[in-house]
Structure formats: structure tokens, C-alpha cells
Amino acid sequence: MVGQRQSRCLLASMNVAGAILNVDAAVVRYGRFTAVDHLSLSVNARETLGLVGESGCGKTSLAKALVGLLPLASGTIRLEGVDMQRAHVAERSWLPTRIQLLFQDPGASLSPRLNVRRLLEEPLRIRHKLTPASWQEIEKLMAELGLATHILERYPHQLSGGQARRISIVRALAMRPRIIVADEPTAGLDLSVQGEMLNLLAQLQRELGLTYVLVSHNLNIIGRITNRVAVMYLGQIVEIGRTRQIFDRPAHHYTAALLAANPTLDPRRRQKRIVLKGELPSPLSPPSGCRFHTRCPAVQQICHVEVPSLRPLANGHHVACHFPRETA
């Protein structure tokens, strides 16, 4: 009953806001280091949004901030219209029933001292939601993910990588969230089994109406399964838009280089490698003006001094570049 009422409220709020999750000028800091710098983003219900970028670009920090694991230094994150930073304690405890994070390393994110049974019921028990009915639901989820109930008595070190990953998915889904933030969901999986994991995530999305924020550096996966993609560089979004549009005609020179750097089996695409000069600048002291100007093949004088804002192109495609590539 409660679930139904909440889903009606959810639909109502979606109709008003359009987006299920709104990030506005979010800043995440670790001491002096700004990992996410005035980043704005919205996520639509039932879509899959990809977040791509190299290590240190802030994608994992953003993912953690989205689920409330990292505080914002400034800015807001609104989940179904509720400002999570200003929400009082009662509302904050509602957060995990709306948005859940799948950690990059499922083995390390499960406590080694608890068996699978305790691991699965702990999040529910903490929120006083553990009922006999919840176990029925957990067992149904486990069956759906191909997990036998005999592993309930096992400890994390007795699980295979694939099992640990599935357990962490069951654990997240048991809270009946609407949004799943998945940090590198196929990291460490072999090519022959990553498709199975992604098919499973897609199936759950269809059945449960989930919204995904998918963090990955694997461009093949991002390009294949997301609806929209946001490209991050040194804590900021440099380009965002529909995945097909960005993969076919990237507007930002960084996106173009990133896509061209991706080794591919397609001989037609293999010739066009763009090799960027230099390395990722230290995020501790990002370059002035456009942060990409130190490595950009199309750099001009203005790029050294003036910060480009995220400007709209056609069809919700946005780019932060003074001299974007031709996209028409």
C-alpha cells in the first residue's frame, strides 16, 4: 500500500518537474581539492544516463554525491523535487528507498563479517522495514538473478565475483529504489560475461521501471546501452546529449579524442585515431580558461582566459567549448 501511494506521488512529481533528479551547480570538495566543480545535470525518469571520463574527472565523486554518500560544498541535488542537502533527518532516511548505488568493487562493498542473509536484510532492518514479506521479495529477486538460496549462509569471501555483484544488486533492489547509480558495473568482468550482466540490468529496468545513472570508462558499453551521455573532464561536464548524437558527431574536441582513442575492431574506424598531447593536468590546480586548453588540438587565444559555458546546440545537446566541432 505504502509502495503504491509513493509511486503515485512519484508520478505526480515527475509530471511537474520532468526530471526525477536535478543537480544544480554541485560542488564536491576533499579539502583543497575540488572533485566536482559547479556541475549541473538532470536525469529523466526511466532513462539510462551514461557518465564518462578518465580517472580523476570526478565521475565517482558525483555518483557518491547523487546517493548522499558525499556532502556537497555548495549547490543542490533535488530528488523528486526534494532538496537532499536541506532535507531534515526523516526525509534523508527516505533517500535510500529512492536511489541506490552499485559499488565498483562488489566484493569490497560487502562486509566480510556478515553472511549473505544478514547482508541482504541489514539495510531493511536499519530502516525498520524488515517483515516476513520482505524475505519473500528478496527470494524472488534472487531467483530472478539466478542465485540459489543456499548461498544465504555464505560469507563474501566464499562468493565468486559474479555472485557478489548479483548479491549487491539484490541488496540495492530490496529497498525498491527508483534510481540506480551503477559505478563501473562490468569492471573486472570478462568480455564473454559482461553482456549477461548488462542484459540483466536492462531486464530489471524494463520490469521495475528503473532509472539508471551508469558510470563507466568503457565507451563501447556506454555507447551501446545509454540513452544520453555526459562527458566529464576535470570535475566538469564538457558535453552532454543523446548518445547517438554524441557518438556519431561529438561537438567537444575532448569527446572526439576519447572516442577516437577507443581501440575498435571496426577497420573503418581504426584509422582515425586522435592522439592528445600531454597528460591530464593535476585536478588540484586546473588550467585557467577552458580546462582542456592545454591538450586541445583546436586551441585559440580566448581558450586560455575565458571559461566556456555549457551552451545548447540542437536536440538537448550541450557543449562547453568556444570552438565546437561541426555537428550538423
Binding site: T48, E54, S55, G162, D190, L191, S192, V193, Q194, G195, E196, L198, N199, A202, R206, H217, L219, N220, I221, I222, G223, R224, I225, T226, N227, T243, R244, F247, D248, A257, L258, A260, A261, N262, P263, T264, L265, D266, P267, R269, R270, R273, I274, V275, L276, E279, L280, R295
Partner: protein, 324 residues
């Protein structure tokens, strides 16, 4: 193929002692590395590709046992030699680049000192000053900026991409006849990976021998290699020229693996199911008697319960499958 082979190994077995019994990581592996070629070895985790590299280099850990029917390098039979005799080739005629350059560089010695030391076995009579100069020039060659000054720096003062450049420079300094690169770009970011791939394809000309590139990335192997060896469950299941194998795979595993490589440009429907291979790789402690891929193979039939012979096709192509 065998006549001009730089390295030729027949019936290589490697097993590791484990609590559950011996894990047979390589079973009857035959490989030929032709002169002046770049050979990719692809396979998933547990296929034995890294163990094969370590076995070639005599770098297997103490719990491993290796035996081969024959192992010849430049026509010289190494099986008959002692370990000490074989090891003199290491670091002189054979060199290796590892996945993680940080754990292969000594943290307490300056880069320059380490680069001089690696050359001593190969050039015993040469003065240290000259070796230092050669090292410095090689660092410049592989794209380390301000190389002369950075020679006295320590590994932790280099970025991941720069450390991998140092490793490549060290390997090139001894001018090995065989260079083995084990996942040389896996630990690097995409744009840095592109730089290292560019460097590797560039320095190919400087290497007067052959290169073995071990990778799980089919795209990388397609980019850099002439030949490819496909491994699965501790066996070589298919070999041939990269273009032949990747465009017309003969083994059902190679075919299925190539299908699993997602191309973002392939389809516009994000909800279409992705290809995958059902099941999991064989357990090396209890490997299957017959074909290693039989349990997951969509085309498995009764003969697959016996191990398939390796069939040689034209132009250096071989496949281990009952269907061919």
C-alpha cells in the same frame, strides 16, 4: 612457419600447486613466433595467457611446474639447458613489459640507475657514463619530456603513462630479439592508452625482433598485431593472421568472443540484448577431457567429448575444433 620461427614451443604444460590439487593452467600448448612479427595473444582471465608469457621468460612462481617437449629460441634447444643457462637470455635477448609499471620499477632507485643496470648484462664492457647517455636518449625517444633531468627522479615522481614509457625504454635499450608486453595499457586512462599504443606502433621499427602482445582487448590486438593466438582454458584454440582470424574466425569460441565485443556504432537500439557466452570457463583443477570449450559451445556434438587435434589450414592458420 616453423623454419623461420624465432621462438618455437611444443607441448608446454604448466601446473600450479593449489590446496585443491594441481591447477593445470597450460595443457599441451604449441606456439611459433615468426621472426620480425608482432603476435597478439588474446584470451579471457584464466585462459593461461599470462602464464604462457611467464613460462617463456622462466619467471613462473615457485609453486608452478613447467615442462615442454621442445623449446627452441633462434634454433637453440633450451629444454636441454639448465635454468642458469636459460636465464642468461632474459634481459639480453628477451625482455618483458608488465601491466603495472609501478610494481616492476624499484621504488628506492632513481630511474636512470635502473636504466643503466638493465643494460649491464647485455653490454658488460661499456662504461656507466655511456650507458647513462644511451638511457637518457632512449627516454627522449619514447616521449619523456626533459629526459636528462628526469633520469635522476624516482618512480613515484612519474605518472602512470610516463612509467610505462620508462618500461618501454628499458626494454628497447637491450635491443631484445623477443619483447613480451603483458597488458601494457590496461592500467592507463583512455587518452594515455592511445599515446602508448601510438608509441608501441612507432617503436616497432626500432625493434629488430619480434613482439608478443598479451591483451584481453581485441581492438588493441587488431590495431597492433600481424598474427594472433587465441587461448581458452589453458589451450591454444586458434592461430593465424589477425585479419583472417578476426574476419573469418574458425573456432566457435573465437566467433562468440568477437561477437561479445560491443561496438557502440553497431546498432541504434539500446534495448537490444547484448551477446554473451553462456556458462563459465573450465576449472583448471578439473579440466575437461575433451574440447575445452564444449560445455559452452552452441555447436557442441558427440565427438567434442574427445580432445580435438589441431588442424593446420593454409597461411599459418590453425584451429583446434572437430567441426573443421
Amino acid at each position: 612457419m616453423t623454419l623461420s620461427a624465432l621462438l618455437s614451443i611444443r607441448a608446454l604444460d604448466v601446473h600450479y600447486a593449489t590446496e585443491r590439487g594441481p591447477a593445470q593452467v597450460l595443457r599441451g600448448v604449441d606456439i611459433d613466433i615468426p621472426e620480425n612479427s608482432v603476435v597478439g595473444i588474446v584470451g579471457e582471465s584464466g585462459s593461461g595467457k599470462s602464464t604462457l608469457a611467464l613460462a617463456i621468460m622462466d619467471l613462473l612462481p615457485p609453486n608452478a611446474t613447467q615442462c615442454a617437449a621442445s623449446y627452441s629460441f633462434e634454433g637453440e634447444d633450451l629444454v636441454a639447458q639448465t635454468l642458469a643457462e636459460r636465464r642468461r637470455l632474459r634481459g639480453t635477448e628477451m625482455a618483458m613489459i608488465f601491466q603495472d609499471p609501478m610494481s616492476s620499477l624499484h621504488p628506492l632507485h632513481a630511474i636512470g640507475t635502473q636504466m643503466v643496470d638493465t643494460q649491464r648484462a647485455k653490454y658488460p664492457g661499456v662504461a656507466a657514463g655511456e650507458l647513462w647517455q644511451r638511457a637518457s636518449a632512449m627516454l627522449t625517444r619514447v616521449g619523456v619530456p626533459d629526459a636528462a633531468a628526469r633520469m635522476s627522479r624516482y618512480p613515484h615522481e612519474f605518472s602512470g603513462g610516463m612509467r610505462q614509457r620508462v618500461m618501454i625504454a628499458m626494454a628497447l635499450l637491450v635491443q631484445p630479439k623477443l619483447l613480451i608486453a603483458d597488458e601494457p595499457t590496461t592500467a592507463l586512462d583512455a587518452t594515455i592508452e592511445a599515446q602508448i599504443i601510438e608509441l608501441l606502433s612507432d617503436v616497432r621499427r626500432d625493434i629488430r625482433g619480434s613482439v608478443i602482445l598479451i591483451s584481453h582487448s581485441l581492438g588493441l590486438v587488431a590495431d597492433l598485431c600481424d598474427h594472433v593466438i587465441v587461448m581458452y582454458g589453458g589451450k591454444v584454440i586458434e592461430v593465424g593472421k589477425v585479419d583472417d582470424v578476426f574476419s573469418r574466425p574458425q573456432h566457435p569460441y573465437t566467433e562468440a568472443l568477437l561477437a561479445c565485443e560491443i561496438s557502440p556504432w553497431q546498432t541504434s537500439d539500446p534495448s537490444a540484448p547484448l551477446p554473451r557466452i553462456r556458462g563459465s570457463p573450465p576449472d583448471p583443477v578439473e579440466p575437461p577431457v575433451g574440447c575445452v570449450f564444449a560445455a559452452r559451445c552452441p555447436q557442441c556434438f558427440d565427438r567434442c567429448s574427445l580432445p580435438p587435434e589441431t588442424k593446420w589450414l593454409d597461411s599459418g592458420r590453425a584451429v583446434a575444433c572437430w567441426l573443421r
